[in-house]
């Protein structure tokens, strides 16, 4: 019996977004990273093309992350708490595609660092490293707007990816991103309708859809990942079918979600039958990342070097498979 050919072709492609700028482009990065550009659902190379490899970023903070589990701290030794050295170590020892700096120190309920301090931190990290940079605020809308007002111009020319704009807070960061030529992350809480709405709002204030990366939140494996999987799948299908508000590359930021699950962090003494958490934890992070890659993630932000290494090898296999 002849097996019917059920392959699909799509008329539209996902936007390509480049992060980082080399010296010739007005920045100081050693290279740039381009994501997106797909004309197919993920890894179906027989239906279309994925011109850019999905990429991996390491998460670093501007302050010591007290609540990270011990096994996520061990690979970095004593450089945590010093964002410059931490970033350098990530870049030199573990070779991610990008660095992702979260300015958690600016949290008004934490250290409440000033926008001036944050801008200085960003400048120092940029001076000490060569990879393209993603910069996140602390998550407090009001403070993040103040922080990015200084951080964005401090990184002018570097073509960073700044996050995040949301349905309730988009004007300031969209304006800064436009003024200083940065890309922005459009965040929506596990809700495709809001994902589309945030992009509409950004477009409405004059921010270019070609410069947006969609972030639909990234619950860990076992904690609602299937909801986001289907949202990412629908988003990508809509983009390929020609909905230009859904044709953006997508990002998964998984470290914070994975490493608060008991499956990733409980040690072997507490749960002997769960096995060694030094293997189990990174495996949980890697499996979460694999799932998002299959859902269409173009950029995954991770914490553990072992997990990052494993996922990097997986991406190579998926990209080289020719769809088989």
């Amino acid at each position: 019996m002849q097996i019917p050919d059920v392959s699909s072709t799509w008329e539209n492609e996902i936007n390509s977004v480049t992060i980082g700028a080399t010296e010739e482009e007005g920045g100081t990065r050693s290279r740039t990273v381009t994501i997106g550009g797909e004309t197919t659902m993920p890894y179906l190379h027989f239906e279309g093309t994925m011109p850019n490899h999905p990429v991996l970023a390491f998460e670093i903070w501007d302050v010591l992350p007290e609540d990270w589990p011990q096994i996520t701290k061990e690979p970095f030794g004593d450089v945590m708490g010093n964002p410059v050295e931490w970033a350098q170590k990530c870049e030199e020892d573990f070779e991610p595609d990008l660095l992702s700096l979260r300015l958690m120190g600016c949290d008004p309920y934490g250290e409440d660092r000033s926008p001036e301090e944050a801008a200085k931190t960003v400048e120092r990290v940029l001076e000490a490293t060569t990879l393209p940079l993603i910069i996140w605020g602390s998550g407090d809308d009001e403070k993040d707007n103040e922080v990015f007002t200084l951080v964005s111009p401090a990184a002018e020319g570097e073509n960073c990816l700044l996050g995040t704009i949301t349905e309730d807070n988009y004007r300031t960061l969209a304006a800064l991103g436009k003024a200083d030529d940065h890309k922005v992350i459009a965040e929506s809480p596990v809700d495709i309708n809001i994902a589309k709405q945030v992009n509409t709002l950004a477009l409405d204030v004059g921010y270019d859809l070609e410069n947006i990366v969609i972030f639909p939140d990234s619950p860990a494996l076992g904690y609602g990942i299937e909801y986001v999987y289907s949202i990412m799948e629908r988003t990508r299908l809509a983009g390929l079918k020609g909905d230009r508000l859904m044709a953006q590359p997508m990002l998964a930021n998984i470290g914070g979600e994975v490493w608060k699950t008991k499956e990733a962090k409980i040690n072997a003494e507490e749960r002997p039958n769960w096995g060694d958490n030094r293997k189990r934890g990174p495996l949980w992070e890697a499996t979460t990342a694999f799932t998002y890659l299959q859902a269409g993630a173009d950029l995954v932000i991770m914490r553990h070097p072992k997990a990052l290494n494993e996922v990097g090898r997986k991406i190579e296999r998926l990209m080289d498979s020719g769809g088989k």
């Binding site: 495709i192 589309k196 709405q197 509409t200």
Partner: protein, 261 residues
Amino acid sequence: MILIGERINAGFSDVKQALQEKDREEIENLAERQADSGADYLDINMGAVSKDPDDMIWLIEIVQDTVDTPISIDSQNPDIVEPALEACNGDPLINSTTAQDEKLEKLIPLAVDHDASIIGITSGEEGAPQDVNGRLEYAAKIFTSANEYGLEVDNLFIDPVAMPLKFMQEQASNLLEAINQLSNISDPPPHISLGISNMSSDASEKSLINRTFLVMAMAVGLDAAICNVFDEKLINSVATAEMILNEEIYNDSFIETYRMG
């Protein structure tokens, strides 16, 4: 939904006057406003004012100098359609052929040769049938002819003919049934198009009739319409219907999103 802006038609007095007096500005204005209102094609119809291909080309060139929206050449006369096709940038639409052999034989090859799309009206030697089967028979004839000449199915629009509700009330339900059946004529089906404004001809509440019928027709497979794109309520209804049919993903600003294209 593919919207074909109907307004550059010399049946309207302003266009008639502009064509007679060669007033570019009036045409530019209509082209720009229709493009801004979301038209996917701009229909150009010289009505009874002119049969001169040069006048058609004059109109086409003004529209193309003003906007990028593709042209819909509203004529069944090959002597006008062919030079008009030559004058068009991009991929135009021929509006239209009937199911009569002498028209199919000339107009469909013209469409194929110029990478154009074409609307086939379910009307033949004996006029436009009012029942469902008569419409389907002519549609099948047009479809077969298009297939024989090698026209891509995506370049074929079938128009099962809207008739005035006020005078032929029973036609509206026949038309809906014909659209429903046409949407199964092939997989994928050709586009199905209508001149929506015919539905409300000489009636009161024209806009309400047009948008109500358009939404009902979309639900059974209509995916193109020659219509008044300046009718804001009509366009808002299209945006809403596309979401209800799950062709677009909902967001709170969906009207604005639709207009952003």
